[in-house]
């Protein structure tokens, strides 16, 4: 998608607040428990050709801010109904293919309904979970592909990083559909809690679909249902640190695309290996300063100007990995070193350009390669016993890492050893279960700080203090 169109589109929305971590419950049952009981203030109701009047009335009475979720084609009608029903706003479910088409209608809606909030929903999320390799088919026959070396994690980190690039002025808002289990009412408190924890850790907002069985049981005052929800409430209460609003995701790897693709496995595997990255478009090579990044991965075909910027980045000391971009480029005037059958290295100034002659066919190995390329001195973050944990670092304006958000997808508490780049005297650990904060013993050496997290269940937050 055209960058300028994306920027214009982003401006068409009322700019979201700078905080994140809002959970919007998607609700369908005509009755709903009070907002104070569910522990959320915002609910989303699906537009189905008409506003569900009974639910809207019930929800407002129970203390909720109500949003209507509608596709772009129904946005006008939904906004009209929303204004009439005194609801708070519209959650627009806009597929990526319709992003550019949304610019004009949204601009019109915004001026027509200035009191309504318009939120853009990314519905391409996936249920966060740790997966095995067993596949249960509908006829209940099992298959398995073998072998798998380590747990596979379904995470929405790549989706969020791509969304943040596509819509730079907004806090991402996303949702996902539950797998088949929702039909049978078997979702657990951990399933919901993991979804909430993930959105919070990625500094995003979430539309959380509440299983209809659970809605019914909550309305019926079912004890087990409320026991489940009270566990979820613990996670909902684990609100973002207000001081973190000024923090930005920290990353030392840049990934450059021709077209944004949240499904790209390179992003997925970089995330799973806890290599912090930021997503760019090829046009950004010309307009943005990528020098702060230690490694730039170019998954785009560079034009002449971009190629010159790549050469310049390498000359300044960066390592640039150019993937499957056959052609003549300025760095090729250096002496080539054939590293293996797929890779040629060019030393340029104090850095280098590595040309990979084929697409990344093995993203797992590629991610490990990137970690090795970073080397010990540039590794921002290392986790031991963290195979099921995604860690997301955040930095302040000076570039110092201040916060580390952790999500464990295993459903089992894990003890994790962490090493972060930088020298920190105080490390405080905050969890939904333990509150804020437990002091951890930092050990500083060679510009790094190490400490042990005694137990990470689903969500944890580390506050790093250099003082």
């Amino acid at each position: 998608m055209n960058v300028s169109r994306m920027v214009v589109l982003s401006l068409c929305f009322i700019v979201a607040p700078s905080s994140w971590g809002t959970v919007y419950l998607q609700w369908s049952n005509p009755a709903i428990p009070p907002a104070s009981s569910l522990g959320v203030s915002d609910i989303v109701v699906l537009w189905d050709g008409a506003a569900p009047g009974a639910l809207l009335a019930s929800a407002r009475k129970q203390g909720y801010r109500v949003y209507l979720e509608a596709p772009l084609k129904d946005s006008e009608a939904a906004a009209k109904a929303c204004a009439k029903a005194a609801c708070t706003g519209i959650v627009l479910n806009i597929p990526e293919s319709e992003d550019s088409e949304a610019v004009k209608p949204l601009s019109r809606l915004r001026s027509t309904y200035p009191k309504l909030r318009f939120l853009r929903l990314n519905s391409n999320g996936k249920q966060p979970e740790m997966r095995g390799s067993v596949v249960i088919k509908r006829d209940a026959v099992l298959e398995v592909s073998s072998p798998t070396a380590q747990p596979w994690i379904d995470t929405n980190l790549a989706l969020m990083r791509v969304d943040q690039r596509a819509h730079t002025s907004e806090v991402p808002l996303y949702t996902f559909s539950w797998a088949d289990q929702a039909q049978q009412g078997t979702l657990t408190a951990d399933d919901y809690s993991l979804a909430v924890a993930e959105a919070d850790a990625f500094h995003a907002d979430l539309v959380l679909r509440v299983d209809e069985h659970l809605q019914q049981r909550l309305n019926a005052q079912d004890r087990d249902a409320w026991a489940l929800w009270n566990q979820v409430r613990l996670m909902l209460k684990f609100s973002p640190d207000a001081n973190a609003a000024a923090l930005q995701p920290a990353a030392n790897v840049a990934v450059v695309f021709d077209q944004l693709d949240a499904g790209d496995e390179v992003l997925n595997l970089l995330g799973r290996h806890n290599i912090p990255y930021k997503v760019f478009l090829a046009a950004d090579l010309k307009s943005q300063d990528l020098k702060p990044f230690d490694i730039v991965i170019v998954l785009a075909k560079p034009d002449a100007e971009s190629a010159e910027r790549i050469r310049s980045l390498a000359a300044g000391g960066d390592t640039v990995v150019v993937v499957d971009a056959h052609g003549k480029y300025p760095w090729q005037s250096s002496e080539p070193e054939h590293v293996n059958e797929h890779t040629t290295s060019y030393t340029v100034g104090s850095g280098k350009v590595l040309e990979l002659s084929e697409p990344v066919t093995d993203p797992e190995t590629f991610a490990q390669d990137i970690r090795r390329l970073l080397g010990k001195s540039n590794t921002m973050l290392s986790l031991w016993n963290g195979l099921t944990t995604i860690a997301v670092p955040y930095k302040d304006r000076t570039g110092t890492m201040r916060l580390l958000e952790l999500v464990n997808y295993a459903g089992e508490p894990v003890r994790i050893q962490v090493q972060v780049k930088g020298s920190f005297s105080k490390v405080r650990y905050e969890t939904p279960e333990g509150g804020c904060c437990q002091s951890l013993e930092p050990v500083k050496h060679d510009g790094f700080t190490e400490f042990v997290i005694p137990e990470l269940r689903i969500s944890g937050r580390l506050h790093l203090d250099a003082q």
Partner: protein, 335 residues
């Protein structure tokens, strides 16, 4: 095209996970997973009573955790860690499960002429450490590490005593621990009255008890680095294990695979992935590592001297070798 193990596992199929499903024969399928030993253990079991299946799976998972507590070398209080700390030149009494696991491993060492060896950790660590610092181990370093390696320096004194006849010996059960845990979990399921169940330890070892209702076996697709052959088996009262050396770097880094040949002192260089199918009374996990280390020629000779065992080696270029003395390996090749 080359695709890595976890990725192929995740992308090849659409997941229809349901924790309970009712089949046409009034048998309920219960499925659970748990993160233990650094991987995902999965158990699926059929029963007329989902509660019974669920309780049996819970007990089986508890057994896996118990085995991990015994055999982990990451846990300083595990029986294995204590053994590694204090069995040098003096007999150490160990829990029966640990004794049996080490005894099983030593049998594979003998079978493979020392290619499979649970004492190889010093060499593995040497390679990892050297390469992470951008160097290769020197011959002297390799010789020193090899001095610490050798299954024949493990003395087993029935019923439960073990002595290491080397001052620097360390046992690592990474190659067989998950398989041992799966076997024990299978025993728990059977003793709980479960007749049809499927146990998977992160894909590396799979154990099948009975078969799904109305089926002749549990369908298991085997590792195929070429993505062109798609071998599969229908497992019934059998297990399958797969071994493969760590993929080499795309960007040309020196990378030590996780499987080191104790005889040469170097990471084994093989492009093959190997899967081996054995009956339930013969553990498949140590055998798959052994077959990887031996390679197809010596491996096939070994299989041909065994009964009811089948194996397949496949390279990324779709080179394939098989030895079928047991379960039939079938193919649904894509080209």
């Amino acid at each position: 095209m080359r695709f890595d193990r976890p990725l192929s596992a995740a992308l090849l199929f659409v997941l229809f996970v349901s924790s309970t499903t009712q089949s046409s024969e009034n048998q309920h399928l219960v499925y659970k997973k748990k993160y233990v030993m650094g991987t995902v253990f999965e158990i699926a079991a059929y029963s007329e009573s989902p509660e019974k299946a669920s309780a049996a799976i819970d007990k089986a998972m508890e057994e896996i955790v118990r085995i991990d507590d015994l055999m982990s070398n990451y846990k300083p209080e595990s029986a294995l860690s204590r053994l590694n700390h204090s069995a040098h030149f003096q007999a150490q009494k160990v829990p029966s499960d640990l004794y049996r696991a080490i005894e099983r491993a030593v049998q594979f060492s003998r079978l493979s002429g020392g290619k499979f060896d649970i004492t190889v950790a010093p060499l593995v660590n040497l390679w990892k450490s050297a390469l992470s610092n951008g160097m290769m181990p020197t011959p002297e370093q390799r010789r020193q590490a090899q001095d610490c390696v050798g299954y024949e320096k493990i003395e087993l004194s029935p019923p439960d005593q073990i002595t290491f006849h080397s001052s620097c010996m360390q046992v690592d059960l990474g190659a067989i621990g998950k398989g041992y845990a799966i076997d024990r979990a299978g025993d728990i399921l059977r003793s709980s009255g479960i007749k049809d169940a499927f146990l998977n330890s992160g894909g590396s070892t799979i154990l099948a008890i009975g078969a799904p209702p109305g089926q002749t076996g549990w369908l298991v697709h085997l590792r195929d680095p070429s993505h062109r052959i798609d071998p599969y088996v229908l497992l019934k009262d059998e297990s399958v294990s797969t071994s493969e050396q760590t993929a080499s770097s795309l960007l040309g880094h020196e990378s030590a695979g996780h499987i080191v040949d104790p005889v040469t002192g170097k990471p084994v260089e093989t492009k093959f992935a190997v899967s081996v199918v054995t009956p339930l009374d013969m553990p498949s996990d140590g055998l798959s590592t052994t077959l990887l280390l031996l390679g197809p020629n010596a491996g096939k000779a070994l299989i041909n001297n065994m009964t009811n065992v089948s194996a397949i080696w496949i390279s990324p270029e779709a080179e394939m070798e098989t030895a079928m003395k047991g379960a039939k390996i079938l193919f649904s090749g894509k080209s």
